[in-house]
């Protein structure tokens, strides 16, 4: 994403997060290599790629969960503290005995306030977010008793309660039936005016109408604007022929690509 020289403060093109040549791996094997990506205001980035391609690792690097071997991640202003994260179910302790309300309430905490008592507005905000996501009635339920779709909403609520500027979701539709998927997409569409959204998924189909940029990650990153993606690139990323079917726009998604397919 090029920044216009005259980009003003608050312009949609101003990068909130600039990921520059990031490499990271486990043991001595790099999982992501030389990945560069800008996340701008009101962006909706879809990061797709095969399992093991480094999608979750990229998120962890951006969120500060792992420290890159090389390269850097620059945050615009104080945005480093305003990242929302919706992890996969397998990445947290689902058996922890906690109610929906208390789980979402933990989203208000950060390094600077966790030693103090919860401020009154934490409780108000938690209630409001539960209401907004239609899970107010579940607030006393234990998280172990929730369905996949309900738990997903709780995790989104936890991320939203801290007023993030960028919301990261890791495979959010995996555990969902069709109805919950539609609900999630409506929700994300509504959030898009308030924050940038980054979705990591192996199945881009549900987001065909929502995304603005798409990044194909298989160790290296192949970055595209809307309408630049074709099946050849996908084939290179996944290592086998892939077909994308978008709801409503079956083939416009797959327009031709020229020299632009790999971003610096």
């Amino acid at each position: 994403m090029e920044i216009e020289p005259d980009a003003r403060e608050g312009s949609p093109l101003e990068p909130l997060i600039a990921i520059e040549h990031v490499t990271y791996g486990y043991e001595d094997r790099p999982v992501i290599e030389d990945v560069s990506l800008d996340i701008v205001r009101e962006d909706f980035i879809l990061v797709i790629g095969p399992n093991g391609g480094g999608k979750t690792t990229l998120l962890k690097a951006i969120l500060g969960i792992v420290a890159p071997w090389s390269g850097q991640i620059r945050f615009h202003g104080d945005i480093g503290g305003r990242l929302g994260y919706v992890p996969q179910f397998t990445h947290f302790n689902r058996n922890f005995p906690i109610s929906v309300f208390d789980m979402v309430l933990t989203g208000c905490l950060n390094a600077t306030n966790y030693l103090r008592r919860h401020a009154p507005e934490h409780f108000e905000k938690t209630g409001a977010i539960l209401e907004k996501l239609d899970i107010y009635g579940l607030q006393r339920e234990n998280i172990t008793d929730l369905s996949g779709g309900q738990l997903q909403r709780v995790l989104i609520a936890r991320a939203l309660v801290s007023d993030p500027l960028v919301l990261f979701l890791d495979e959010p539709t995996t555990a969902m039936d069709a109805t919950s998927q539609t609900g999630l997409l409506d929700l994300l569409a509504g959030l898009q005016t308030e924050m940038s959204i980054v979705v990591v998924t192996h199945d881009p189909t549900p987001y065909a109408q929502a995304y603005r940029h798409i990044a194909c990650l298989n160790s290296r990153l192949y970055y595209h604007g809307r309408g630049e993606l074709d099946s050849l690139t996908l084939e290179r990323v996944y290592g086998c022929p892939v077909e994308i079917l978008g709801h409503g726009i079956p083939h416009t998604l797959l327009s031709g690509h020229g020299e632009t397919e790999k971003r610096p």
Binding site: I65, Y85, N93, P97, T106, A111, L115, S162
Partner: protein
């Protein structure tokens, strides 16, 4: 009843039992939800090495045990920080080497080590007033640290990665929890002995988890359950002249079985 309460050894035993219960109720739920039970077993057994060296040097055994367990906890914490995958291997080795050091040094010590069995199997009835004061100090340290950093410890027990994304000092919190676990184990060794510490860290939590699905309530119920176990085990030990540590644990096993059984019966009656 009044007469047995007037014995100083009985007062010491009751005080130690209550303090041990507070400790296991506060730290046990964190150990269980963070899957640190095996780590706790390893730490408790390394205490034996410290005991052996303390006997050999002629200093108070608890000092040796505390030093050893703390060093082991810091080593384990460092390993976890470096994300070494062979953690359980190292715990197993620490466990055995700790015991071996203890055996060697006790063997080197001239004369007979009378309290040895006490430390292995625990005898809450022989706890001295000095031990009570040492335990009280440890309880105050562990309880105040746990309560002060409570939300931080909950955050890493619930979702460590999220806590990192929120910039919590996760590495320090993990190390802190490890050190508090070590100090708790020292306290519990007094009551039930090295071999049975794990039981006191797990059984009250298991009983409490059957009764509630709220973490805070589980902490509270675990303390209560621990007090019931320690006091009833103590009475059985006194009247039936059975070892106190084993009595406490067996009462615990029985209580857990009863609670689980009663719960199952209730569920069956509700949905025939």
């Amino acid at each position: 009843m009044n007469t047995i309460l007037s014995y100083e050894f009985m007062q010491n035993a009751i005080l130690t039992g209550i303090m041990a219960s507070i400790i296991c109720g506060l730290i046990g739920p964190f150990i269980v939800t963070r899957r640190m039970v095996f780590i706790s077993g390893g730490l408790s057994h390394t205490a034996f090495g410290g005991l052996g060296i303390a006997y050999w040097l002629g200093i108070h055994p608890l000092i040796g045990a505390t030093a050893f367990v703390l060093i082991a906890a810091i080593l384990l914490g460092r390993m976890e920080e470096k994300k070494m995958n062979r953690n359980d291997l190292f715990i197993g080795i620490l466990w055995a080497v700790g015991v071996a050091i203890g055996i060697v040094f006790i063997n080197l010590t001239p004369g007979y080590a009378p309290d040895l069995m006490t430390f292995l199997f625990g005898n809450i009835l022989t706890v001295s007033r000095t031990d009570v004061y040492i335990t009280l100090l440890l309880v105050l340290i562990v309880a105040s640290a746990l309560l002060f950093f409570y939300k931080g410890f909950v955050a890493i027990a619930l979702d460590e990665e999220y806590a990192m994304a929120r910039r919590f000092p996760v590495a320090s919190l993990k190390m802190g929890l490890m050190i508090l676990t070590a100090l708790s184990i020292i306290t519990l060794i007094q009551a039930v002995g090295i071999l049975l510490v794990i039981a006191l860290l797990t059984i009250p939590v298991a009983v409490a988890s059957e009764l509630s699905l709220n973490f805070r309530r589980i902490l509270f119920l675990s303390i209560l359950c621990g007090i019931v176990l320690c006091l009833s085990g103590l009475l059985i030990s006194y009247f039936a002249e059975l070892p106190s540590g084993a009595s406490i644990i067996l009462v615990g096993g029985l209580l857990l079985g009863t609670v689980k059984g009663a719960k199952r019966a209730l569920v069956k009656r509700k949905a025939p």
